[in-house]
């Protein structure tokens, strides 16, 4: 490489004499990003400030109940999604059993389901007229609800089940990575020393996976806490639902802002829980040899297959099959080809734009933090967008867009951001940039700081260091982050719905419009297309590792 030759020509000792001005581009980039991300927060406070008098902090029993229900929902989802993801990752990474190869890939697929869609499908599958209860009545010979008892899907436990089933892959993907790669040597050593079965799992696997488990669960919690579509349909008064009701149904902005402030506080605590220690053991050793898996036989093998297959069957195969059946049954009501293709194209355009911008922003910010560690708070600020409930974020961005439009108009520009695709791309980038920064940061942290020192000693300057050392090192993380953002954008609702230009439809907005009219079957084709796009991207996730 050319880098090598230039490096040898340079003299050592440049690092010490580095003028401070060099940092400027990185500082500027970091600050700019932080401002762009922070702008909605300012917008939020500007909204809150409209009625400063009634801001005294007081919670009604109903609002307290919303906090309680949200707490129970999150606790349930954490336990269920956490254990499903962790155990599945462990089984798939360590053991060999029938169907393992297929399940290894398929376990990411439930991530393709938007939560609201999963909720609609779950209700239709499991309610009185659905196939499950119909079959059950046939088996036990019952006629009416008085003859038997059955699980109520539209309930808090129902919501926990639905959310956990489509969100657990976040945990699966991150734990799987640890078991298969960085933690592999520890596990192999423990096996050599005689650890087996549950002992191996609880004494070695669980502690090893803890950081990855936390990282995965943070994503699960943030998705669950921001959800409105599913929780509302399932009758859970979550904080996000209550905030939306207070704001948009009652028009009580200060009360909504108070609740939103509370929610953001909760989320900030969650994010704090995920703060990785700054100095981790540099460069976890990796064995290059493919580790042998423990072969399971008999009942143990079938148990492993059953346990890893259930989440896939319940979280993807059955609901997808149901949607296909609905699409056929309501074939005549599905979208015209032109509308459908237009929506698919818009969805792709939006998802690619947002992923690209998040990846660029994530790369810039991560490198800036690496070169100038003082910028680290900017990285945390960047994740703020993910902490604000979607609807609140959108309404907070409105004042920002309108201010920038006024500024643009003042300089005589005919361009405007409000109600344009650029406005949505901005909003979604703010929302998801934390994922890009987080994943890129994780990847770059695996590169020991000593590499930077060596490069500097050899006279490498910031830009070359960034492009030739840091960028390649964090590329896998960036790709992973970009893929996650792609999936999230394809499924995203509140921002896309509320900010899109006239006549602009994505697959998600079409599916939601029908679902909210009580006829989601009419958009079964759009729903299947969402699944195809995000499912394909989810498969890239499992290939990427």
């Amino acid at each position: 490489m050319t880098a090598k030759t230039t490096m040898t020509v340079r003299t050592a000792g440049v690092a010490n004499a580095r003028p401070r001005l060099r940092l400027f581009p990185w500082l500027a980039a970091g600050m700019l990003l932080a401002v762009l991300v922070l702008a909605p927060a300012l917008g939020f406070f500007s909204l809150m400030g409209r009625d400063a008098l009634s801001r005294a902090f007081s919670l009604t029993p109903f609002q307290l109940n919303a906090i309680r229900e949200t707490g129970l929902l999150l606790a349930g989802v954490i336990v269920l999604a956490g254990s499903m993801g962790l155990v599945a990752a462990w089984l798939v990474a360590i053991y060999d059993f029938p169907g393992r190869r297929l399940l290894d890939v398929a376990l990411v697929l439930p991530l393709a389901f938007p939560t609201y869609l999963a909720a609609f499908v779950a209700v239709d599958l499991f309610d009185f007229f659905g196939p499950v209860q119909t079959l059950w009545r046939w088996i036990i010979g019952a006629k009416t609800l008085n003859d038997y008892r059955f699980f109520e899907t539209r309930s808090l436990p129902g919501a926990i089940g639905v959310l956990a089933l489509v969100l657990f892959p976040y945990v699966y993907v991150s734990c799987r990575l640890v078991f298969a790669h960085s933690g592999r040597n520890v596990i192999d050593a423990a096996r050599l020393l005689g650890a087996r079965g549950f002992g191996l799992f609880f004494r070695i696997g669980v502690p090893l996976a803890r950081p990855a488990l936390t990282a995965g669960l943070v994503l699960v919690v943030l998705e669950a806490i921001n959800d409105i579509g599913a929780t509302e349909h399932l009758g859970v008064s979550s904080l996000s639902v209550v905030i939306r009701d207070l704001w948009l149904n009652r028009g009580d902005l200060p009360a909504a802002a108070r609740m939103a402030g509370l929610l953001i506080l909760v989320v900030a605590l969650v994010m704090l829980a995920n703060r990785q220690p700054a100095s981790r053991r540099p460069g976890t050793a990796r064995s290059t040899a493919r580790p042998r898996k423990i072969k399971l036989d008999g009942p143990a093998a079938w148990f492993a297959t059953f346990f890893t297959a259930m989440p896939v069957v319940l979280g993807f195969v059955v609901p997808t099959g149901f949607l296909i059946w609905r699409a056929i049954a309501y074939a005549g009501r599905q979208a015209q080809a032109a509308e459908f293709l237009g929506a698919a194209a818009s969805t792709l355009l939006l998802a690619f734009s947002v992923s690209l911008i998040v990846m660029i922003a994530g790369a810039l910010l991560t490198i800036a933090i690496r070169i100038a560690p003082k910028l680290a708070p900017a990285g945390r600020i960047a994740t703020l967008g993910y902490a604000i409930p979607g609807t609140v974020l959108v309404l907070s961005i409105f004042p920002v867009l309108s201010a920038s439009d006024h500024a643009l108009a003042a300089v005589g520009s005919a361009l405007a951001l409000s109600g344009t695709l650029a406005g949505i791309v901005y909003a979604l980038s703010v929302r998801f940039v934390g994922i890009g920064v987080g994943q890129a940061g994780l990847a770059l942290r695996r590169l020991p700081p000593s590499i930077d020192w060596v490069a500097r000693v050899h006279g490498m300057k910031d830009l070359r260091l960034a492009l030739q050392v840091h960028f390649p090192a964090m590329l896998p993380g960036l790709m992973l982050g970009g893929t996650l953002v792609f999936i999230d954008t394809v499924k995203e609702l509140p921002a896309t719905l509320l900010m899109r230009p006239l006549n602009f439809e994505t697959l998600a907005t079409r599916a939601y419009a029908e679902a909210s009219a009580g006829t989601f079957e009419h958009a079964a084709l759009d729903s299947l297309a969402i699944l195809a796009l995000s499912g394909f991207a989810a498969l890239m996730l499992s290939r990427g590792k």
Binding site: S155, A416, G419
Partner: protein, 345 residues
């Protein structure tokens, strides 16, 4: 390579952003409609308008928050009309100061005074009654009042969607006008005590739950019965229920509207007024009523025969303006009695 990368990426990013941002277009023959009503339910109507007048209708749908969007867009807002499914939302938009009155001789002549604001700030284009769905076999009554929903004989037998949904807040707002704050609270607490399950789902789910036997009685808008009746999958639900047109003891049936407000900074004001007037014309009214199973706002026009079979409602005496004014108090009452917590809460 480094040079190429460092300059091209930002330039490309800036360029693509500039491509995505678009200059606001100003064409003569179009009108921009923001709607809280699902696009599928109005599309045939708008297509017919375009076919007849040549005026293109650009649409954006969201369940809520469009008034806030218009407010944020300010003077440059492309919105000409906001269509909403509840008078409270229309009045809220008026309160935000983002609208201007529409007063034309055509509208004044076509729409009765009660179904449009006296100052022209909003105008109804269709009307709907909030009725009782009851089991054909398990509820013998032919007539019921809204008050009777709180009767202990329905304990554990009643289903309804969230009390914070605008259809319910408006009904409760009407109850506030009839029964007073104290009376309305007792009434709502009584209904809560009668709930069979936590409020959830939508109006269609009430019919579904009655058909399934999870409850015997519930509240829903009358047009859903028509919509369910034409859906092969949902017809069985309709067959299990009957529609009772309830009244308040000292009043009539709660009738709400879907209606329009004209945006303050409408760029296509003429076309917007043209669309509004067209919507209250005879053919549009009958088509609208036929597609959505609603009542025309213009007197003397045909209602769908299936809907007509429920009996003609005797609209409540409480003016829609009062309903809109009581909305916040109604929403607070729902919270106060813990309605959405369900029977045990």
């Amino acid at each position: 390579m480094s040079k190429v990368f460092s300059t091209r990426v930002p330039v490309m990013a800036a360029f693509s952003l500039a491509m995505l941002a678009s200059a606001p277009a100003l064409q003569a023959q179009e009108v921009n409609l923001y709607t809280h009503r699902e696009p599928g339910l109005i599309k045939p109507l708008l297509d017919k308008f375009t076919a007849e007048t040549g005026v293109k209708v650009n649409v954006i749908f969201a369940k809520s928050g469009l008034a806030e969007r218009i407010q944020s867009e300010g003077e440059r807002s492309p919105a000409d009309l906001l269509l909403s499914v509840d008078v409270s939302t229309l009045a809220y938009a008026v309160g935000l100061g983002i609208t201007q009155p529409i007063v034309t001789p055509v509208l004044e002549k076509a729409v009765p005074a009660g179904l449009r604001a006296s100052d022209g700030s909003w105008v109804g284009v269709s009307a709907r009654a909030r009725v009782i769905y009851a089991s054909k076999t398990r509820v013998p009554d032919a007539n019921l009042t809204y008050e009777s929903l709180a009767n202990p004989r329905f304990k554990g037998r009643l289903c309804i969607r969230s009390g914070q949904h605008e259809y319910n807040t408006s009904l409760i707002a009407a109850a506030l006008a009839h029964l007073g704050p104290q009376g309305a609270e007792t009434w709502l607490a009584g209904i809560k005590a009668n709930l069979a399950k936590k409020p959830s789902g939508g109006d269609r789910d009430v019919a579904k739950d009655i058909a399934a036997g999870a409850c015997d009685i519930g509240v829903g808008n009358m047009y859903y019965v028509g919509l369910m009746n034409q859906d092969p999958n949902q017809k069985t639900w309709v067959e299990a229920i009957k529609v009772i047109m309830p009244t308040f003891k000292d009043g009539g049936t709660h009738v709400n509207i879907s209606g329009l407000v004209l945006a303050k900074h409408a760029k296509h004001k003429a076309e917007a007024i043209r669309l509004t007037e067209w919507l209250v014309g005879k053919s549009a009214q009958e088509l609208y009523a036929a597609i959505n199973f609603e009542y025309p706002v213009v007197p003397g026009l045909t209602t769908d025969p299936y809907i007509a079979s429920f009996g003609a409602p005797k609209p409540d005496t409480v003016p829609l303006d009062t309903i809109a004014k009581n909305r916040k108090a109604a929403s607070e009452l729902v919270e106060k009695v813990g309605f959405d917590l369900g029977p045990q809460g």
